[in-house]
């Protein structure tokens, strides 16, 4: 029996009709909605490639059933910024050339965004710890950590200016 699920994706309401309410949010994003930035890595909640924000909290979407996000807000990497209006994290990742193959980056950017929300001035160790749920296999770790520290500084500076 087909059911309809509604939630907010990157600021816009979306509605999907599915036969299986257990369909993982990741598959809904990628297959039903064609939003490809969030990647499949393991399907086991282990690698962090599929990290999204659900009502602001970082969650792995590969095992998250779609029914559980009905009525909630979901933010994916596409919701952070665009090439024209990059999020400070995205700009810092480009500035630091933080990546090799880049498959892990969408999930890492989401984890980083969640970290900076709760801790605007993280130390190197705090950044690293916040990313322990994300696997990078190419060895771009230190660039990624540098980029996040740089974005944090940038965001603190603009917050100071705004105030």
């Amino acid at each position: 029996m087909t059911q309809t699920f509604e939630f907010t994706l990157n600021g816009s309401p979306v509605s999907v009709s599915l036969g299986n309410e257990e369909t993982p949010l990741l598959n809904v994003l990628r297959n039903a909605l064609g939003v490809m930035g969030t990647r499949f890595g393991c399907g086991l909640d282990q690698c962090g490639c599929c990290m999204v924000l659900i009502d602001g909290a970082p969650e792995k979407s590969c095992t998250k059933p779609v029914w559980s996000v009905a009525g909630k807000t979901v933010t994916t990497v596409e919701g952070l910024g665009t090439p024209q209006r990059p999020h400070p994290l995205q700009q810092a990742f480009i500035d630091e050339q933080a990546g090799q193959c880049g498959y892990c980056l969408a999930g890492i950017l989401i984890s980083a965004q969640a970290l900076l929300k709760r801790n605007p001035s993280p130390t190197r160790a705090e950044i690293a710890q916040a990313l322990d749920g994300n696997i990078c296999r190419c060895g771009a770790h230190n660039r990624i950590i540098r980029a996040i520290a740089k974005a944090a500084a940038q965001m603190r500076a603009s917050a100071g200016t705004a105030r």
């Binding site: 490639c49 990546g99 193959c101 980056l105």
Partner: protein, 705 residues
């Protein structure tokens, strides 16, 4: 006058329009057989083309790894893309530029020497002529052959080469665009999962298709060809559920499973092998001379790409089109042709980026899976994506290796005779070396296994890669036992045998230095006559503030190691500082490398750094376990280095821009492994010769002391 010698890939692909075309005003398309694996090769190739063609990088679109359009450069592997493919690209572009200059001279009625090019515009004595690449393109025949006569830029004239240009492919990955093969959608595409044959020779006994359909919770279909069984459907979730359930509902006969014993390198030593000796004959009478002997081992490793392998295929009107993230589209096409009995001319293979692979992972096999299903479903595009456990179990593994070092020493404790005796399965089961595609083994009349072989020495060797120390030792030899049967498929992983061999050599050198009562840095320098090797060793020691005689043995240690990859690619020396209690905590890593002319310094550093971190992960954590089959199935049973375990790393490149480029991608894996081994020994006051350096091994070593 002799004709200039063309760089290898250009001699193999002399038609210039495979390398460069001018498709529309202001636009340049460049083709390379090398593919993007996350190493930044497409950016580096674009930099090369921009300089040699005298056009802005922004004008260039790069096409890579495509049987229809690009040069055939075999595999993107072995740190050879820039060292060989880049040199070929330079010459191809220089030839094209030369043809256009000559044509412009004819059109303008002047001498070629009066002409130059600025961003594609032909200048005469510095002034525009009204001619450019695009006005002349119709009159210059690029279907002709390269001659090697185009003059390549002098180092001093490089504008783009040598600059840290930003990676062209990164923005799509940072903004979440469809950047990977996993993101490809073809009209009418259906999803597929393969019910994997447990091993070659296993046959399907029974399929409970009703149970599998119920697990899917949406319509699915089965595609079967011999013992190749796939599940297909429109709904990926259903196909995934069915694929996961299939292991409980398909039974197999003739199942063989590797045993825990076979996971150990020591298992290799008594196995049937093809033996050979490379190098000097054994000394006749070593009696009376001091000897050293020690055996170093490493277990099987997984590529463990962050994304499971994926492939797409469409068979329509007698033609097969395949999209793959493999490292060699032309060898894959040939293998598909053999497997499917289809003429290679009827097969097109396109490379699409995947996650980092670091060697021969499941990419070729996933493409073959898609092709096998596609042949049964003409007209329907098929997308296969492996499951995480499928990737861990079925990707070809890097083989376990045992390396016994034997040395005879002079009175000063320096080696005068050196033997590396190696036991290993093959490092090359690539389709291009005759290896079977995984799915082919399940088809009716599966192809025979190829005869055992390994990468030839001319290509750097497989198990023997870097087995010869670069040090000045009067006589050296390698004894290679190519173990004929391995418990699982084994093939190329970043550096092949270089990591275990450099680990063995550089740990042995440290053990010899200690025996001789000498500092490890000084001992190495005394054995090194190669100035570029000396320079990286001295440089890294200075970077790390290396102090001779620093006390160890209290849980804090530091170690150094050096190698020149394949003894002919980049030089790298690494120092590691670490702490050991029950486990190892890396504190800092320093690296100095000489890679000759570096096209993109930041890209080279990124590769060297990635190699350090991956090698640290191998050494500290990684081993493929066998327990009733491969039992490393996910990131919990095959853990890799986490962010919080990665040390800070400093890397410096030696300025050697007048030298030829040297491949860097695999240069740090060996030195890092050995530097960690040496630092652990320094910290513990005891040597561990078996990788990985697990808590169990550390505890056992501490108890022995």
């Amino acid at each position: 006058m002799n004709a200039p010698i063309l760089p290898g890939p250009l001699a193999d692909n002399p038609r210039l329009d495979r390398w460069v075309t001018f498709p529309a005003p202001g636009k340049v398309t460049v083709g390379t057989g090398r593919v993007e694996l996350g190493q930044g090769v497409l950016t580096a190739m674009t930099q090369i083309a921009a300089d040699e063609l005298d056009v802005a990088m922004e004008r260039i679109t790069i096409r890579s790894g495509d049987t229809e359009f690009t040069p055939n450069e075999g595999y993107t592997a072995g740190s050879q893309s820039i060292q060989f493919g880049g040199v070929a690209m330079r010459q191809a572009c220089a030839d094209v530029r030369g043809l256009f200059i000559d044509q412009a001279a004819r059109v303008l009625g002047c001498k070629s020497s009066e002409l130059s090019i600025r961003d594609g515009i032909i200048l005469r004595n510095g002034a525009p002529t009204g001619q450019d690449y695009w006005t002349l393109a119709a009159t210059v025949d690029l279907a002709g052959k390269a001659t090697g006569s185009g003059r390549r830029k002098a180092v001093a004239d490089f504008a783009s080469i040598g600059q840290s240009s930003a990676r062209l492919d990164l923005p799509a990955k940072i903004f979440g665009a469809a950047a990977f093969i996993h993101d490809m959608v073809v009209d009418g595409m259906v999803h597929a999962r393969v019910v994997r044959q447990p091993n070659r020779g296993a046959t399907i006994e029974a399929v409970d298709d009703g149970a599998i359909r119920r697990a899917a919770k949406a319509p699915i279909e089965f595609v079967r060809n011999g013992n190749f069984l796939a599940i297909v459907g429109n709904d990926e979730t259903a196909v995934e559920l069915a694929g996961a359930a299939a292991s409980d509902h398909v039974t197999w006969r003739h199942v063989e499973t590797p045993t825990p014993l076979q996971a150990e390198a020591s298992w290799l030593v008594q196995r049937p092998a093809i033996d050979r000796v490379i190098g000097a004959p054994e000394p006749a009478d070593p009696q009376g001379r001091a000897r050293f002997e020690a055996t170093y081992t490493r277990v099987h490793l997984a590529h463990a790409s962050i994304a499971p392998s994926c492939g797409l295929a469409l068979y329509r009107d007698g033609r097969l089109t395949v999209w793959t993230h493999c490292q060699g589209v032309f060898p894959l096409r040939a293998a598909l042709s053999r497997t499917l009995g289809l003429d290679a001319a009827a097969i097109t293979v396109h490379h699409v980026q995947g996650a980092g692979c670091y060697g021969h992972n499941g990419a070729d096999d996933a493409a073959a899976d898609a092709a096998i299903v596609a042949m049964k479903m003409p007209g329907t595009p098929i997308r296969v994506r492996w499951r995480r456990a499928e990737e861990f179990v079925y990707e070809p593994k890097s083989p376990a290796m045992a390396v016994k070092v034997r040395a005879l020493l002079d009175d000063a404790g320096k080696p005068t005779d050196w033997t590396a005796e190696i036991w290993s399965g093959t490092h090359n089961y690539r389709p291009g070396a005759g290896g079977n595609l995984l799915g082919a083994q399940a088809l009716p009349n599966p192809p025979p296994e190829p005869p055992p072989g390994d990468v030839p020495e001319a290509n750097g060797g497989g198990a023997t890669r870097n087995a010869e120390p670069l040090y000045s030792i009067a006589s050296k030899r390698i004894i290679h036992h190519l173990v004929m049967e391995t418990p699982v498929r084994t093939s190329a992983l970043r550096g092949l045998g270089a990591m275990p061999n450099v680990f063995a050599i550089e740990c042995a050198i440290d053990e010899l230095a200690e025996r001789a009562g000498q500092d490890p840095v000084q001992y190495r320098l005394a054995l090194t006559t190669d100035d570029r090797a000396r320079a990286v060793i001295e440089k890294v020691a200075a970077m790390a503030g290396w102090q001779s005689g620093a006390p160890g043995g209290a849980g804090r240690g530091r170690g150094i190691a050096f190698a020149r990859y394949k003894n002919r690619a980049a030089y790298a020396a690494v120092v590691v500082a670490l702490d050991v209690d029950e486990t190892i905590r890396l504190r800092h890593v320093w690296c100095a490398s000489d890679a000759g002319l570096v096209i993109n310094p930041d890209g080279a550093i990124n590769q060297l750094e990635g190699g350090i971190i991956q090698s640290a992960s191998w050494v500290l954590k990684e081993q493929v376990r066998f327990d009733n089959g491969v039992s490393s199935l996910d990131w919990e049973t095959y853990p890799v280095l986490k962010f919080s375990e990665v040390p800070e790393i400093d890397i410096e490149l030696i300025n050697a821009k007048d030298e030829t480029p040297l491949g860097v991608g695999e240069a740090t894996a060996g030195p890092t492994a050995a530097a960690i081994g040496n630092a652990v020994s320094h910290a513990l006051g005891a040597r561990i010769r078996d990788l990985p350096l697990t808590r169990e091994r550390i505890m056992a070593t501490l108890l022995k002391e």
